[in-house]
Symmetry: C2
Subunit: 239 residues, 2 copies
Amino acid sequence: MPNPSAAMIVIGDEILSGRTRDSNMHHMAQQLSEVGIDLREVRMIGDERGTIIAAVQALARAYDHVFTSGGIGPTHDDITADCIAAAFDREIDVRDDARQILAEFYRKTGTELNQARLRMARIPEGATLIDNPVSAAPGFRVENVHVMAGVPAVFQAMVASVLPTLTGGAPLISETLRVERGEGDIAGPLGEVAEAHPDLSIGSYPFQRDGRFGAHLVVRGQDRAEVDRAMARLKAIFA
Amino acid sequence: MPNPSAAMIVIGDEILSGRTRDSNMHHMAQQLSEVGIDLREVRMIGDERGTIIAAVQALARAYDHVFTSGGIGPTHDDITADCIAAAFDREIDVRDDARQILAEFYRKTGTELNQARLRMARIPEGATLIDNPVSAAPGFRVENVHVMAGVPAVFQAMVASVLPTLTGGAPLISETLRVERGEGDIAGPLGEVAEAHPDLSIGSYPFQRDGRFGAHLVVRGQDRAEVDRAMARLKAIFA
């Protein structure tokens, strides 16, 4: 059976303007590989209502899971929750359980639960909350869309809350052979090995260091024995 | 007049599997900001023919410029050039000018121009070559799509070759105010400033350091005087 598929949406003008370097995508990719969910597509988009709604609808239809990061804080440019509600045609309002989580957290830290912070308790109708052990304000899940914060520490905590609730497939096994030759010398025989193992994904990732060219040959698959056979063949040719 | 718009497509299984951390997107975003071209969307996709063709067609229609990275090397998984040709319904074959560039480079470095390396001279009909001062094998442009390599050093060299040929708009002016208060305290007054300056993009990017919360308030726009006015207002409130 093929692994479940996933897409991610990274939301935020600051990523597209080059001000902030996104790190959530790479974290998500690594975590999903480990649990056997195939990340197939990532979209990075700005804080724009129409764009967010369209991306959520398109990807929720196309993949088993969608993960979003960004835009669920208390400020005027945090519009993700409202967009998710609109994408699924659901009502959205401050929800009692989310409000209580915030009230308790802010009482402990001696912070006022003002109107702005209360925005973070706006949750689409029927959504399931995602635990945020870092700063309390929850993420949420609507159907197959998991809505999480953009701040990396909070995003990572939410991913850790979500992943155990999902059914993964066979984790991806990945083996790498470093070859100190140009890709142009490698390509022919590598292509033959790839052809002989159609169930594996065999890739070549060139590097350049100290003026010399080389490549990492990566064999990926779910069947340990087959990955080992392909790696043995590559070593026999290139090592 | 609004700035020209752009999208980027990052191509490669190694990015989606979490093996490699992409750095080309961030570089592209920063470079485009400087020349006044608005990056509106980034898609990261795998080495899959149908997916690449669909993304190229959709984004080439929607934006003024499209930039791709990855998949133009000599190995079997380098399928970007063929996908671009298919996306625009053009022929593709080894082209004499590209072959000559490779032949000259490899003669100098004493490397054989074999069948695999010759793949890198496969260029869609009517495309314009993009200079690659690092490793010779050229990128190319078809209509509004600029096709570049994935290796960061080569990608950056190609971006430097391409950008001077494009007409940008007004570069984005961006000013940042660091505020050591939680976003929840900032949100109310910040929203009022944003409302008073509808032509500016005013964002709040929370951070957490040593257990304390704060935010970077960022004012972006093309009109220096208006950016300054908004920043002065924010400083009066928060500094």
